[in-house]
């Protein structure tokens, strides 16, 4: 454990000392949230404009309102949810993806600069090297994610939180998501030597994983073939947990909440196990 935390400590020290990195990582989610989330007012489609409302007979207004409400609930989980809040929560999770896809990069750099050899000649498990980096990446992702959440609140996200315990569980799921994604990315990129490959892998994973999650649109709006993908995607589960605990308030579905959390925990465990296993086998100085 000491060796894992030593490696994690090194990574985090380096990160804290480069504030530009921290700020730059926030730019993309800010754009998605601030520009796309604000401009593309999907929930606005389901509200009836005032002047139209005035021309309708009073008895039908109630029917129309109920109709639109039920559509909003079906798609966005709660009648009060506006699209900006919906996307802001999505971005709170997507930033975890954006940070995690680079988790393998530091191994490539360490290899290039010879530091990896230093780690490899030390009497430590190879998996400790990888887990130290996964945990560091997860802490980074968690902090960045909290910052995106705060940005969302500052920009007018409408909170309707469930009980503190459920909120805490949902926030913890951010960390589970980070461990899942960072471990997977490291497992994929373990043997890649140059940072160009890491960039390519990052690009390859970023968009598909974002678009097959419920970050930008609800599961119900997806075509049938896409829904299974979204259901496997760990991002979806963190997003649903966060939306449940932060936006839906009392209308939160406890059974679904528990399922999402269990799914993420299992996913994180498997991914970390896979990463460790591959590290013990394949993380070497060998050409």
């Amino acid at each position: 454990m000491g060796e894992v935390s030593a490696i994690m400590g090194r990574e985090l020290r380096k990160w804290v000392r480069s504030p530009p990195l921290l700020v730059m990582a926030l730019v993309q989610p800010l754009f998605w949230m601030g520009l796309y989330g604000k401009a593309f007012n999907l929930t606005g489609l389901f509200s009836v404009p005032e002047d139209v409302l005035r021309t309708l007979p009073p008895e039908s207004t109630k029917v129309v309102a109920e109709l639109f409400n039920s559509m909003a609930v079906r798609l966005f989980g709660s009648p009060g949810t506006d699209y900006f809040s919906f996307v802001a929560i999505g971005m709170t999770s997507v930033i975890v993806l954006f940070v995690s896809v680079f988790s393998g990069m530091s191994i490539a750099w360490d290899r290039r600069l010879g530091f990896l050899n230093k780690l490899l000649v030390a009497p430590i498990r190879r998996s400790s090297i990888v887990m130290g980096k996964v945990l560091a990446s997860s802490v980074r992702a968690f902090i960045q994610s909290s910052m995106v959440l705060l940005m969302g609140l500052a920009l007018g996200m409408k909170l309707s939180p469930a009980s503190p315990l459920l909120v805490a569980g949902a926030l913890a799921s951010i960390f589970l998501l980070a461990i899942s994604l960072s471990s997977l990315v490291i497992a994929i990129t373990l043997r890649l030597r140059s940072w160009e490959y890491h960039m390519a892998v990052a690009n390859l994973l970023n968009l598909p994983l974002m678009f097959t999650s419920t970050a930008l649109y609800p599961l119900n709006l997806m075509p049938d073939w896409m829904r299974p993908l979204a259901t496997i995607n760990p991002l979806t589960h963190t997003i649903e947990l966060l939306r449940g605990a932060l936006l839906y308030g009392n209308s939160l579905d406890i059974a679904a909440y528990q399922f999402h959390l269990a799914y993420l925990a299992a996913f994180a465990l498997l991914a970390a196990g896979l990463g460790s296993y591959l590290a013990n086998r394949y993380l070497t100085a060998e050409r």
Partner: protein
């Protein structure tokens, strides 16, 4: 006990045979040098002995542990100072050393005392709190040495410890290395392609070329065996057959005469010189100048491999590494 035993090490990378049956032993407390040009297999040998790569065939033990099967035991008794500067730029000297202590499971209180000690050894106490990016090349190398010693290794591996450093810094680093070896009672395996460094610092040397060991011995043994002393004399007087005068002397291997100068290659100069002088004087020649040169390891290397070690310099690999080092030092 033998600190290092290598037996028939072979390493093949794809089609390239990097090591072709390397065997040698290093005794406890010895400073052993692997001398050879770039690409000779020095770093590959170190990589195998430090468990970084596995030999294609052959076996090796370090401090009694098998480098293939007892990797973690080997790792805990060795220290490695690699060719490149690998201390972390963005951390302070102290943080680098603490990281190493943690990686070697040195208990915290022990580590703090030990870190003080190694910082003292390499004179980096004042700079320890600064980030490594502010260090000079020589300071980084010293920190690198300190980092390799935090866990009190038994065997220290130095891969080209002075590569990319200027001449003064080189001499300085060697002072530190000698001090460390003395005070820490280390066994050292080092590689170098600087002849003078090997000559001055190693108890024994293995000359390695193209993946094979060409000769092993103390610098003196190698010079006696594979190099020869050269005696140069300048004589006054005419009509003497210098060639014949010298030829019969025991130990002379080659004679060259040009004008009144004569250059003689001999096996043991200190024994041959008096005899040469006696002959010259008894035949009435007056000697106006004498010079005797001892062989250098350069000559040994040429004698063993048929080419100079310097010819290999400037390979792309070295140019690349040096430029990397320079860039890191500047950054």
């Amino acid at each position: 006990m033998r600190a290092i035993e290598a037996e028939g090490l072979r390493k093949v990378f794809g089609r390239v045979v990097a090591l072709d049956g390397v065997s040698f032993t290093v005794e406890e407390g010895e400073v052993f040098g692997l001398l050879g040009p770039n690409g000779a297999g020095k770093t590959t040998t170190i990589s195998i002995l430090t468990t970084l790569i596995r030999p294609t065939s052959g076996s090796a033990r370090v401090w009694g542990y098998d480098v293939r099967t007892e990797t973690s035991k080997v790792r805990s008794v060795i220290g490695l100072v690699p060719q490149d500067l690998t201390v972390d730029d963005e951390l302070t000297g102290l943080e680098n050393l603490r990281l190493m202590a943690a990686l070697y499971h040195v208990p915290k209180d022990v580590a703090e005392r030990r870190i003080e000690e190694v910082l003292e050894l390499v004179d980096l106490k004042e700079a320890a709190g600064r980030r490594v990016e502010t260090y000079s090349g020589g300071m980084r190398k010293r920190l690198e040495l300190a980092a390799a010693l935090v866990h009190r290794p038994k065997v220290l591996f130095l891969d080209e410890p002075t590569l990319g450093l200027d001449v003064q810094t080189r001499a300085h680093i060697w002072d530190y290395i000698r001090r460390l070896v003395r005070e820490e009672q280390l066994t050292v395996l080092m590689t170098t392609h600087y002849m003078d460094e090997a000559d001055a610092n190693c108890d024994r040397i293995a000359v390695i070329d193209r993946g094979r060991i060409m000769a092993i011995g103390t610098p003196r043994e190698l010079k006696v065996k594979h190099g020869s002393d050269v005696i140069e004399l300048e004589v006054q007087g005419d009509g003497f057959d210098l060639q014949n005068l010298v030829k019969g002397v025991e130990g002379v291997t080659d004679v060259r005469v040009s004008g009144n100068r004569i250059s003689v290659r001999v096996v043991r100069g200190e024994e041959v010189l008096p005899e040469l002088m006696r002959r010259m004087i008894s035949s009435g020649l007056s000697v106006s100048r004498i010079e005797m040169r001892r062989p250098t390891l350069d000559e040994v290397f040429i004698a063993l491999t048929g080419r100079s070690i310097r010819e290999e310099q400037g390979s792309w690999e070295e140019v690349f590494r040096q430029s990397m080092n320079v860039r890191r030092v500047r950054a």
